[in-house]
């Protein structure tokens, strides 16, 4: 271990401790005190994402996320934001393939207010038909702005999953279809809540300037009395093994430059050595100006304008869970042939499969990995997210403080995973033609 890494390991080991406990109703809670600034975050992750939706109900996990802000028994519509802002706080939520996450960032004195608001919506969510109609319109606008009216939006948010995956659970879009959204009724929303928002289906993290004992007392007071309900029935998200290269041609009327995307599936479980190696490989290929594909496609051959990708793409690699793919996404110049871009991507993968990375490159990559981790630690919201990802996806919140498995990746590991997983046979290739229909 080099000096820099040793120093960092020492710093990480000294990182603040946390405590965890479960309430009687099964809700899990993690408290991670940090008194460096008088702010705190209350964040909750629910084990329900778009992959767990039922057929004919696409987009429900996300629509429901919107409904969680539409009022509860003691905090009618509009109160949630108004009250938090009244105390200087901010909040948001996001729906992912495998989970839905809510957070409130507040000056530390307002933590009990955030807990009260969260408890009221978890115990007594109160939505009406008008609120649902209104939020269906808002979600349709969200789809228009990020998918229908945005260059490359359809590729990234609809087509990649619909062609990469066979199982409908994985293939349908998180944003859902207009038909399914329009069909949503009050009864549907209620039954979605009953099925998925049981306290035992949630993990909460309180991170920041709090006294752990006091915070625990608050959580027990506001959440301890809420009755548990049955956990949701598990959904089969198994994806059949890839059966050879698939090619998909798509067009985008809003894009002015062509693009090529490749996804690979059939990847290893989270928490295995291969998972960590693929995460590091993704950084080596795509992240920043030192990345192999940036250097090759943007600088050396001058064929592309931008490259992106990595494990889990288009989602973040830290929320990776099977069956998420490994992805590449290149926006390239008009005078280039898509096959040439594809060939260059494979040339770089083959290069790593054959020779791995030099000691110098690997050390550089790991130094950057650690400093990126410290950057994340500076944001209380990011820190809470990392703790909840570790708690839900790794089953162990302490993994949020441990980047050792990434630092343990060797050049041999990178060779192995590049050769084993990123093969043409496991791939779906998307050739996006720009400007059609203009």
């Amino acid at each position: 271990m080099t000096g820099a890494l040793a120093l960092l390991a020492a710093w990480a080991a000294a990182a603040p401790a946390f405590e965890q406990f479960s309430l009687r109703n099964g809700m899990k809670v993690i408290i991670a005190p940090d008194h460096s600034a008088p702010v705190a975050v209350v964040a909750t992750i629910f084990n329900i994402g778009s992959r767990q939706e039922q057929r004919g109900r696409s987009g429900f996990a996300h629509l429901f996320e919107h409904m969680m802000f539409e009022g509860s028994e003691h905090a009618p519509k509009g109160t949630f934001d108004r009250l938090l802002e009244r105390f200087g706080g901010d909040n948001n939520a996001s729906t992912h393939d495998d989970f839905t996450l809510y957070w409130e960032a507040v000056p530390a004195n307002a933590v009990p207010v955030a807990l009260w608001l969260d408890a009221d919506r978890l115990s007594a969510l109160k939505v009406d038909g008008d609120a649902i109609k209104n939020q269906i319109e808002v979600v349709k606008e969200e789809k228009r702005v990020s998918v229908d009216n945005e260059p490359y939006g359809k590729l990234l948010y609809l087509e990649i999953s619909s062609h990469t995956f066979v199982n409908w659970q994985n293939a349908h879009a998180t944003i859902g279809s207009f038909e399914d959204l329009d069909a949503a009724t009050l009864a549907d929303v209620r039954s979605f809540f009953d099925a998925n928002y049981a306290p035992s289906n949630a993990i909460m993290a309180i991170v920041g300037d709090v006294d752990p004992e006091q915070a625990r007392a608050w959580v027990e007071r506001y959440f301890g009395w809420i009755e548990n309900r049955a956990k949701p029935v598990s959904v089969d998200v198994t994806e059949p093994a890839p059966t050879g290269r698939k090619r998909v041609a798509v067009s985008d009327p809003h894009a002015n430059l062509p693009a090529l995307a490749i996804t690979w599936k059939g990847l290893p479980d989270r928490g295995t050595p291969d998972h960590y190696a693929l995460a590091v490989l993704g950084r080596a290929l795509f992240k920043g100006k030192t990345a192999r594909l940036y250097q090759d496609l943007v600088k050396n051959t001058e064929a592309a304008v931008s490259v992106d990708g990595g494990l889990g793409f288009p989602s973040d690699s830290d929320e990776y869970r099977v069956p998420a793919p490994f992805g590449a996404f290149v926006i390239y110049k008009d005078d280039q042939a898509p096959r040439r871009i594809e060939d260059r991507i494979y040339a770089q993968i083959r290069e790593i499969a054959a020779r791995g990375l030099s000691e110098r490159e690997l050390t550089r990559l790991k130094t950057k990995l650690k400093s990126d981790w410290i950057l994340d630690q500076q944001h209380t919201v990011r820190r809470a997210e990392r703790i909840l990802y570790a708690a839900l996806l790794d089953g162990d919140p302490s993994k949020a403080w441990s980047i050792e498995p990434f630092l343990a990746v060797t050049s041999a590991d990178l060779k192995r995973v590049a050769a084993r997983y990123l093969t043409p046979d496991a791939s779906t290739v998307f050739e996006l033609k720009a400007g059609e229909g203009k």
Binding site: N47, F87, V113, V138, N149, T290, R364, S371, G395
Partner: protein
């Protein structure tokens, strides 16, 4: 079959909870009473000036083993002529594409070796280099930062590549409705002022040469024109020694004059329209010239903007999104430039509802000028802004940005030290006066990117003269 919840059961077994106390439903009727917010201030700064004129500021921050740096030079894209639009951006980006000692790849490698990254860019008022490093590498970080600023070699091949890629990036941006709307909006808002130009054109990109880049570098990137901000785990004495060592023996001329103050010469409200075939939404920007942060009415205006469209519980979001369902996102903001500032509202709405959406937005702009906000709105806006300020100081980036902003915009040194107090002092009457002075819907620029004659006809209803078509360069 993958059983998703199984992992949660394993987690519960691993945790070792004590037997929880029997739970009784608490009084949920009202939110809990809480303690007052703890005061939080921008930490102390140390400021010194080198004999060559370079100004350095350090905020010691021991929370993380990291140092964050900003090196800014006054005069960004506003320091070049309209015909040279893009030159400042190109020069800035080329700083990291080669020095006398290193290639662009070697520069990127070096930044990652010290656990950071090095980015360069131009805004309307500055050329900005941003970097960070593990604190034990502060020395190497400052060395690289000085090297790219002082001795860039601007290799011909890199200049050619930047010019070609800038053209490609422009083509790509022209696919984005928000980009097109912004280009047109600032063009019309700022008229012939340098702030009118926010994007290059095909013609201005073609003019970028190595000679032009070198001469702009000589003009802007000089120690007398520089502000260096350091935030991090770095003692003052060491910082002073390092800065002197890396930047001390550098000389150069004075920088350019500040851009002229913008004399607003208001016109009655006019609608501008860019046809974007196939658009399913109308991308709307509405705005007018406002005031600098050192204007006596600024804090009143800040609160007025907050009540109107500064956050989720603001009037625009609650009405246009939460009640009417016309949009996913809408907001208003104050944008500060060195010698001017703009107030603007921005939203994309589906094409069919553009007219009622505009009616509702202008209704809110009229109302904020007609009556004081309620006491609740006033309190909420002030506390939210104070809380946002505290949260922005969480990160070294956040601190560095605030410190740099104070210096670049020539604000009073204690601007952010007294920020919360001055916010708290704002009254409803202050808000009303500021809104009446600086939110001017009757003189606003209304820029819309969308598709269809029906949309264009709707816009005419909000314009004092026939709708003015604009092209993708905002002309």
């Amino acid at each position: 079959m993958i059983l998703i919840p199984a992992i949660l059961a394993a987690w519960a077994a691993a945790a070792a909870p004590e037997a929880p106390a029997p739970a009784v439903r608490p009084d949920m009727a009202r939110p809990p009473a809480v303690e007052p917010m703890k005061p939080y201030r921008l930490p102390a700064r140390s400021r010194w000036v080198l004999s060559n004129g370079l100004e350095a500021i350090l905020v010691e921050d021991r929370r993380y083993p990291m140092v964050t740096a900003r090196l800014a030079f006054r005069g960004g894209s506003s320091a070049v002529r309209a015909a040279d639009a893009g030159l400042a951006d190109a020069m800035a980006e080329l700083l990291t594409d080669g020095t006398r000692k290193r290639t662009s790849k070697e520069i990127a490698d070096a930044a990652e070796d010290y656990g950071g990254a090095l980015e360069a860019g131009a805004t309307s008022d500055e050329i900005l280099l941003e970097t960070f490093a593990l604190s034990e590498h502060a020395d190497k970080m400052l060395g690289l930062l000085a090297e790219v600023a002082r001795e860039p070699s601007f290799p011909g091949s890199e200049v050619d590549l930047r010019r070609k890629n800038m053209q490609e990036e422009l083509n790509q941006s022209r696919g984005e409705p928000d980009f097109l709307a912004a280009v047109g909006f600032y063009k019309k808002l700022y008229g012939g002022h340098p702030y009118a130009i926010t994007a290059p054109t095909d013609a201005s990109i073609a003019k970028i040469t190595r000679d032009a880049v070198v001469s702009l570098h000589r003009r802007l990137v000089t120690p007398r024109n520089a502000v260096l901000v350091l935030v991090g785990d770095l003692p003052l004495e060491k910082a002073k020694k390092l800065v002197e060592e890396k930047f001390g023996r550098w000389s150069g001329a004075y920088g350019p004059a500040d851009p002229p103050a913008f004399a607003a010469h208001p016109h009655p409200r006019t609608a501008y329209f860019l046809e974007r075939p196939g658009a399913v939404q109308a991308s709307i920007v509405i705005g007018n010239i406002a005031c600098r942060e050192d204007h006596p009415d600024y804090f009143g205006l800040l609160v007025a903007n907050q009540v109107l469209g500064g956050s989720f519980s603001s009037r625009l979001v609650q009405d246009i999104r939460e009640t009417k369902g016309y949009t996913y996102r809408i907001g208003s903001r104050l944008e500060q430039r060195m010698t001017s500032s703009a107030f603007r509202v921005r939203t994309p709405v589906r094409t069919e509802v553009a007219e009622p959406a505009l009616q509702a937005i202008f209704g809110h702009l009229d109302r904020i000028r007609a009556e004081k906000p309620s006491d609740e709105e006033l309190e909420k806006a002030k506390t939210f802004l104070a809380g946002s300020f505290a949260r922005s100081l969480e990160t070294q980036d956040g601190m560095a940005d605030l410190v740099l902003h104070t210096r670049l915009h020539r604000l009073p040194e204690d601007f952010f030290d007294t920020y919360v107090e001055r916010l708290e002092a704002v009254t409803g009457a202050d808000v009303l006066r500021a809104a009446q002075t600086f939110i001017r819907p009757h003189e606003a620029v209304l820029m819309v990117v969308g598709s269809g004659d029906a949309l264009k006809a709707s816009l005419a209803k909000f314009s004092s003269r026939p709708v003015v078509p604009v092209d993708r360069d905002g002309n």
